[in-house]
Symmetry: C2
Subunit: 267 residues, 2 copies
């Protein structure tokens, strides 16, 4: 999916919502857990219930890897089930030396049919570039994350800026707004304006709304650009809105609230 | 495996060699590729041929993930096949917000029976700590890596030191030499002494010997401590020493050269 198609989906649905399929086995409704294909069945219901309200799904690989081979099977089934109209993100935070990052790029862009993968920047250029070599695929580099640990290294000062600013500025020269996005946590409002000035045209993938406390209004009013430029992710707040048999309807209700609010900011 | 047991294995075998099972499908000998279980059969032969010469095996997850489900099956078979006398490293370079890193820790320490996993430090404390909560399991944090991209961020100056020094100094306070190691590239000789002064007692996992040009002699003479404190990894130089039917013998010959040289430095 290229940028034009993504922006078109956003305009059409009046939504820049990404639903995070952080499907932790122990949190899915009890009536599903005895199903040998429980994780996929859960995801299928969530996708069916939310697909007209969101433009992207984000699969965090950790929740699947923890289940071993059945987890990878569920991940594969899920990515194949997501409609091709939707932007499919592997939230994998990979990164290794060049020849090894190429294998990760192959894993997510060829073996699995994701549109995008999140990448950790610590190891530098040759660890990021192999992901950027795929046409119409996207690399989403960690910029300023939403977790408490962001203060430990990301927010250190180096030269006349913070490390996350340096990371964003440097990585932005390795790709362009058509193949590169950055993760910026929703609870980093005070930094949004500065980051937007460094990368006016890039999309941000914004986690941290909902369970982690970020405000959709603040993000939207401070970081949207002419093409929207935002994919705002909510995971637990949507997928675990109910732990009962009505979890699909409950997820839809929460996703619908997000979409309705987004519709206002997109005007 | 605890530190005492690891050091005992090193003394017994007079080796601190780690064999990296970077089993790229297209590089395994042609006669094996038609076997539906080719990757595991290759690894099995490498393990059988080298196990008395090394103390650790390192499985880089990228080469398995790129093969999809069959790759994960081969990874699982391989880790189960490695003898319990050997230190089993998942070179996965994972890291995410706290509740998600917990899932990665579960994946590698419970679902799969690894002794250690490599972790990327960018996201800070809550991304690293879940790995440190397992008794007799090890977290190996990226310090100064061997690849060209290490110059982009790892070697930036922050305060009065380099970022990688800050990362090593800070992370070392989250664990101890019994549950924490650091990745230090073999080609970073000029920095070895400084890093050893920051963490005199920790083990270093040292990639970059062989294909990447680091010198075993230089590393050993500059960074060994009283308990050895080094696991030196070689991957391609050993496992792809021959692309013919004699690949097991060829791998053994190279591993044996490393072990013989290590024996001298351990005296």
């Amino acid at each position: 999916m290229n940028r034009k198609e993504l922006v078109s989906q956003i305009r059409q649905k009046k939504s820049y919502l990404c639903v995070g399929l952080d499907t932790e086995f122990n949190k899915i409704p009890k009536h599903l857990r005895s199903d040998p294909d429980a994780i996929f069945q859960f995801n299928k219901k969530i996708i069916d219930s939310t697909k007209d309200l969101c433009v992207a799904y984000k699969i965090n690989t950790a929740f699947y890897e923890s289940q071993g081979i059945p987890g990878w099977e569920a991940l594969e089934e899920t990515v194949n089930y997501i409609p091709s109209t939707h932007f499919k993100i592997a939230d994998a935070k990979r990164g290794d030396i060049g020849n090894t990052s190429s294998q990760y790029a192959k894993a997510f862009f060829e073996t699995l049919q994701f549109n995008a993968v999140t990448v950790a920047p610590y190891m530098g250029e040759d660890s990021v570039k192999p992901f950027l070599e795929y046409k119409d695929k996207w690399t989403i580099v960690l910029g300023l994350t939403s977790n408490p640990g962001a203060k430990d290294f990301e927010q250190l000062t180096t030269g006349d800026e913070k490390l996350y600013e340096k990371v964003i500025r440097t990585c932005s020269t390795w790709g362009n707004p058509d193949n590169l996005m950055f993760v910026v946590g929703a609870n980093r409002l005070e930094q949004f304006e500065k980051i937007r000035s460094i990368i006016p045209d890039h999309f941000f993938l914004v986690p941290g709304v909902g369970a982690q406390g970020g405000s959709l209004k603040d993000i939207s009013q401070n970081a949207m650009n002419v093409e929207c430029g935002l994919l705002v992710n909510a995971s637990r707040a949507i997928i675990f809105a109910s732990q009962n048999e009505d979890f699909g309807e409950a997820a839809r209700a929460v996703a619908s609230e997000y979409q309705k609010e987004m519709q206002n900011y997109l005007l």
